[in-house]
Symmetry: C2
Subunit: 434 residues, 2 copies
């Protein structure tokens, strides 16, 4: 039995590791077209800012080490150019054919760059290690003072903040009138104010028509980074007759099975299910890729495991400020057919007498069922933990009444006696009761 | 209609505030025997260490302010000496009688001090503002160099660390062979090592028979603090015929009703329900007192609300180190009739390339049902957030499989791509599958 995995970053390597653990006799081959496997893409903005000193620090392990320790054949520079499902073969650039019994597609995604001027020498994306090397060299050597970032999703915001940390003045363009792909005007305003203090200007609701040498839309920018979303790498799959889903990524069931027998997909190339709506969603994130990869690897190795889907949890760390969302915003909840009610509160993140700082918590619930639908947290401390509590409640399908009674940790230096989450829940309960 | 509330700290003031909000016409009287209401008992160790400069910083609001802003009559120095349920009256020291339509008992708890020598002038407890004032004055004036702390529950540990932060050498005695009232040898060892680095020595499994001037059990100690647990203040209730529960605190149902019509109890004087065992539990904590007080206040004001109980979440912050537990330990789970399996893992608290520090996560699940039963988290960052995720999962009755798929936040500076919680869950799933 041979398992072939196409793609060796997050989902692919998780799948390989899991399959190996469950079936020591399986022959496993990872085909990665790049030079590296298992590297931390999410660390790139921190290499840009200088907080990660060396690009090599982002490489979690080498192909050689993975091969030695796990007994998985890892081939880099191995680009699959075709899948032949009828023959159960993949074809590599150069013509080599490799047959498989099971196939996992973990082909990832690539940054959208369909903007005029994207090919100019001062325009970058930040998606691969090579991207990181090129952009940081450019910054170190050219010493630009003004930057443009196209896209105010989490990657765009992290890049903008990293550039600002390096001393650049930054303008961020976003076609939609809000940040983080979340139609939430208050969250957007909250962030806008904080970023302005760092000389990061948000230009929202402004599609960039083109990039000129030295400027974007008339605003000077000696360096430009495009972070306008990801596009799943599905060409190989589509040509092989593998079905795509509503968002253009590979459609899989909860076992990560595609429509072709023995062919799985996982990670940024595939859609998954949203735990709140129950419907499909495309949210390419490292954690999700790892989880999907694990499930694909387990099933490809003969287990029967399911992936329950995602809540859409996302956190952005902009130096000491963190912004996190999970589940549905009010607008998304309405689109999904719920009758959302929401509150947003500001509350101290720990006991006031120990120097608390404000935290903002938004909760969204369904008026009919009182079910919690989503939330956001902004603050300096405890943001990841608080959004995770909301994400856990979403996965459990909790009502707001249940949520309001959670037994959350209290100690004055870390959390106040009434946790901001519970303050928000009690406020939203009042709205529901009215 | 008059609502009388006996006790004006956490539960009492929460009850008063909630009842007032729900029924603006209700006459509400709070009777507090001390000089202050609504003060933050949990802040006392931080006053000891000096991180809270003034004792007044721990007073959240004055009786006058509460009276002015909420229209609640708050009487301090008003000690209730008897309840006469047949006449619906309480009697104050001095003989004054106050009649009630509804009565909420929020009489709190007091530190156990049944140790020979407890009355010596160098022996303290830390339960009231006056306790805090006396102990800090003693430390400031007498400048002791060696301290003894009796009890290694969360209060004892916080006091020990505060004294150590002031430069004292500290010995902590605990009658049981473990810390935090949790029969968990590994957690105890983990803590023991860390405390030893701060010149805090734990003497476990050692009941203190008596305190001598200048020493405890032959170990020099110029100052001694007794933190050997809390005893609920139930004498008033018991004399009035109010039933006590298994742990000697007032027995209430999920509406905070005692066995006497119209009489409620909430906070440290009452028992509550454990969300994992479904059985009664006595866990006197500030957050629980607030929640119970809110429910008592709502029901006394004519609403019908329920309190779902507690998971037993507890966190102790010892400078940068935090220790948190929730739900059942292995030993507690076994006693409760489960077949517990558990793992404890050490994992980085954020991405390694951003200077991660170790976090220890223990998860306990039931072998038969795979239901999550409890957990503990030790580390420097993110401990409160992580234990809260476990507490949320416990309240929801999640299985380990569900838990392992939680969509937790990931960003390199705050949380690693595989959160320690999920690393632990995956490890425990392997144990369950074996």
């Amino acid at each position: 039995m041979r398992l072939v995995i196409v793609g060796g970053v997050a989902a692919g390597m998780s799948a390989a590791a899991r399959a190996r653990r469950l079936d020591p006799s399986l022959e496993i081959v990872v085909l990665e077209r790049g030079a590296h496997v298992a590297w931390a893409a999410c660390g790139l903005p921190f290499y840009l800012s200088g907080r990660v000193a060396r690009l090599d620090d982002l490489i979690l392990f080498t192909p050689e080490r993975f091969q030695r320790e796990r007994g998985v054949l890892v081939r880099t520079g191995a680009e699959v150019t075709a899948i032949r499902p009828a023959r159960r073969q993949v074809v590599l650039r150069g013509g080599e054919q490799i047959s498989y019994d099971r196939l996992i597609l973990a082909t990832g995604a690539r940054p959208r760059r369909d903007i005029a001027g994207a090919e100019l020498p001062h325009v970058f994306t930040l998606h691969t290690l090579e991207d990181g090397r090129r952009l940081r060299s450019f910054l170190d050597e050219q010493r630009p003072r003004r930057a443009g970032v196209i896209g105010a999703g989490y990657i765009g915001l992290e890049i903008a903040d990293a550039l600002s940390e390096r001393g650049l003045e930054v303008t961020v363009w976003e076609a939609r009138p809000w940040v983080l792909d979340r139609q939430d005007p208050e969250l957007t305003q909250l962030l806008e104010r904080r970023l302005a203090e760092r000389r990061i200007e948000l230009r929202l609701g402004t599609a960039v028509s083109g990039i000129e040498p030295g400027s974007v839309q008339g605003v000077p920018a000696e360096v430009v980074v495009i972070a306008a979303g990801l596009q799943p790498n599905v060409e190989l799959a589509a040509e092989a007759g593998i079905e795509l889903g509503r968002f253009g990524a590979i459609r899989v069931n909860d076992r990560m099975e595609t429509n072709l027998a023995g062919v799985y997909a996982a990670g940024d190339c595939a859609e998954t299910t949203h735990v709140v709506t129950g419907g499909p969603v495309y949210l390419p994130l490292g954690t999700t890729a790892n989880k999907m990869g694990r499930v694909a690897g387990a099933n490809a190795a003969g287990r029967r495991e399911r992936f329950g889907g995602v809540a859409g949890t996302l956190i952005v760390a902009l130096r000491e400020l963190a912004i996190a969302v999970t589940g549905l915003s009010v607008a998304q909840a309405r689109q999904a057919g719920f009758q959302p009610v929401s509150v947003r509160i500001e509350a101290p993140d720990r006991s006031r007498y120990l120097g608390s700082r404000p935290t903002w918590v938004e909760l969204v619930a369904d008026r009919n069922t009182s079910r919690l639908l989503g939330g956001s947290v902004v603050g300096e401390k405890g943001v990841a933990g608080r959004i995770n509590v909301v994400a856990t409640a979403l996965a459990a399908g909790m009502t707001l009444e249940q949520f309001a009674q959670l037994d959350l940790a209290y100690t004055p230096p870390l959390a106040p006696v009434r946790d901001p989450l519970l303050v928000a829940a009690n406020e939203l309960n009042k709205v529901l009761a009215s």
